[in-house]
């Protein structure tokens, strides 16, 4: 393809909705107005781990302005679900509304629907839940130690089990123990990331409106409109054709609007009341209840030669999934596939585990599974450089993957640009590289 045919590369291309944004004419989900619209607020678990002894909704139902109260008993279809069940990932482990147990503080238990947001909030505060508190576990290694309480019957040891009974998403490439035995240095460390809230400017929300044709129209800010519709239909036991989802405009998502957190219960409320129902997360809910990026713990052990070649890398990582699975098994697969970073090593061993704790369920955020891997690997690269007294730029260039290299997950590397990217960064940073490092390319392992 000649450069002439590249109509976009190297040019500024207009963003189609920019003028609409600048003029305030973009329609977000909550910019539609319906008469007689109701508002939904959730009564949430006050305990991180407890048996539910009793739920009493009588005072909530009698609260001024409250029209409808929904518990798990009102769910017509599934009580427990997982968003990826339809593509064979499971098991379904997360209650739509909690019934026998709560497993994280903030778990939804009772939905209260009222004439105004204030009346719904006041009604939700009047739901009475009697708990029998259970010991909680909040650390990934404690959770799988054998002495922690089991969160669900699905995983008696509090970690996800991949197909073929694997306790982790695994990479086995070469022989790391042999690599360690041959190495001049062993460099080991432990790395920990925090849960991070996507914090979109617009919180999660939707409006469900019953139509005269028996269909429910849902205005939603989901990042995955068909996924949200199909899961809502599956949870409620409806034909997907009964639901008309309108989405597409998202006030910031970053992975934080794929959990189908608001639509199913709003549709059920609209069906029950025959009126439009709006469920909008408050800012507090968005920050404390909506799923975050997972926190990850990684242990990395490298075998390194005096000349800087990393000959073996062993990684054990624990993704804190919180109380339920959501998409974490996929996140740890991506995480493992990213190892050992953009470097070529003859011996690689990875165990990437998904662990359940009594923390809020985590989910997708930009670079799902990859950010934690890159964070830990690049800190480790600096530590390796320091240990052997080598320039960290040169260490990375020496080990960077080249075209044709076999990756640890057994794909031949194509379109590598790591060497050139480091060289360009060094130029911009004013970092002098020796001639042989400046001459390196992604097409040749040796300096030319």
């Amino acid at each position: 393809m000649s450069m002439k045919e590249l109509g976009v590369v190297g040019r500024n291309v207009g963003q189609r909705d920019l003028e609409s944004h600048a003029r305030g004419q973009t329609t977000y989900y909550e910019d539609v107005h319906y008469p007689r619209m109701l508002h939904l607020k959730m009564h949430r678990s006050a305990e991180p781990h407890a048996n539910i002894v009793k739920v009493d909704t009588r005072k909530a139902a009698a609260s001024p302005g409250v029209v409808c109260v929904l518990t798990h008993e009102d769910l017509p279809g599934k009580k427990v679900w997982n968003g990826l069940a339809a593509v064979g990932v499971g098991p379904e482990d997360e209650p739509v509304l909690a019934f026998d147990k709560v497993r994280w503080r903030g778990e939804p238990i009772v939905a209260v629907i009222a004439e105004t947001p204030e009346a719904a909030r006041a009604g939700a505060a009047k739901v009475e839940v009697e708990y029998d508190p259970l010991p909680g576990v909040f650390d990934v290694e404690e959770a799988i130690s054998g002495s922690a309480p089991a969160l669900t019957a699905h995983w008696p040891h509090n970690h996800y089990i991949y197909p073929d009974d694997h306790a982790a998403s695994q990479i086995r490439f070469g022989d790391v123990e042999k690599g360690f035995a041959e190495a001049d240095h062993i460099v080991e460390d432990k790395y920990q990331t925090s849960p991070i809230e996507q914090a979109p400017m617009e919180t999660n929300g939707c409006i469900a409106k019953p139509g005269g044709d028996g269909r429910i129209t849902v205005h939603t800010n989901t990042q995955a409109v068909h996924f949200a519709r199909d899961n809502t239909a599956a949870i409620l036991g409806l034909a997907p054709g009964k639901l008309r989802f309108l989405g597409g405009t998202v006030g910031g998502g970053f992975g934080g609007k794929v959990d189908v957190a608001v639509e199913p219960i709003s549709v059920l409320a609209a069906m029950r009341t025959g009126r439009p129902v709006k469920f909008k997360y408050t800012r507090e809910e968005e920050m404390q209840v909506s799923s975050t990026r997972s926190a990850w713990r990684l242990y990395i052990k490298d075998g390194v030669m005096n000349d800087g070649r990393i000959v073996a890398r062993k990684i054990t990582s624990y993704q804190d999934s919180g109380a339920y699975l959501r998409f974490s098994s996929y996140g740890s697969m991506k995480h493992a596939g990213h190892m050992p970073g953009p470097y070529t090593m003859p011996n690689v061993w990875v165990d990437a585990r998904v662990v359940f704790t009594n923390r809020p369920p985590s989910s997708a955020m930009r670079g799902f599974g990859v950010m934690a891997a890159s964070f830990a690997i690049e800190l480790q690269m600096d530590k390796v450089a320091k240990t052997i007294g080598m320039d960290p730029w040169q260490l990375r260039l020496l080990n960077a993957y080249r075209n044709g290299d076999m990756r640890a997950h057994r794909k031949v590397n194509e379109d590598a640009a790591m060497v050139e990217t480091i060289q360009a960064a060094a130029r911009l940073a004013g970092h002098e590289l020796p001639a042989e490092y400046q001459a390196m390319t992604s097409w040749d392992r040796k300096a030319s």
């Binding site: 920019l18 400017m201 617009e202 006030g251 910031g252």
Partner: protein
């Protein structure tokens, strides 16, 4: 407390609206008058997405009781759209790619207008200060600051007002 009738001018139009007790200006603008460019990102004065002008001053409509706006002149982003032509400040946001999801944009443009109305030639630091109550999570703030700089330059070249 009872419902109450208040009168105010919004984007040049005289309006009479019935408000519930403790209704905010944001409720009146978004829900009663359906001026939906006024966003509601937090409802607690933390994000700036609901920014409007009240008698020319930048205000957070989510923290302003509707009653306090009685008799006031209120301007929302829609107030800049009086003619079908985009105004220079809005055009500067477009040309600088100063929006991605667009949710913060209405508040940003209003805050920028408030700044340029009182200081037509702001320094970069003054622009940053002028937008410091408005959060964006997508584009980063650099293109937004550049947009305001470009708008200020365009205004000084033409001698026009911000909008």
């Amino acid at each position: 407390m009872e419902d109450k009738l208040i009168r105010l001018t919004v984007n040049g139009r005289d309006e009479a609206v019935v408000i519930r007790p403790l209704a905010t200006l944001q409720d009146v603008l978004r829900d009663t008058l359906e001026l939906t460019a006024v966003k509601s990102g937090c409802g607690q004065g933390g994000c700036g997405s609901c920014s409007v002008l009240v008698d020319g001053e930048l205000r957070l409509s989510c923290l302003t009781l509707a009653e306090r706006a009685e008799g006031a002149e209120v301007t929302t982003l829609e107030g800049l759209n009086e003619t079908n032509a985009i105004v220079p400040l809005q055009q500067a946001f477009v040309e600088n790619y100063a929006a991605q999801c667009g949710y913060c944009t209405a508040g940003m443009v209003v805050a920028a207008k408030a700044l340029l109305d009182r200081n037509p030639a702001p320094s970069r630091d003054e622009i940053v200060e002028g937008l410091s109550g408005n959060l964006c999570r997508c584009t980063g703030f650099a293109p937004i600051v550049r947009a305001v700089q470009q708008a200020a330059q365009a205004l000084s070249d033409t001698g026009e007002e911000a909008s």
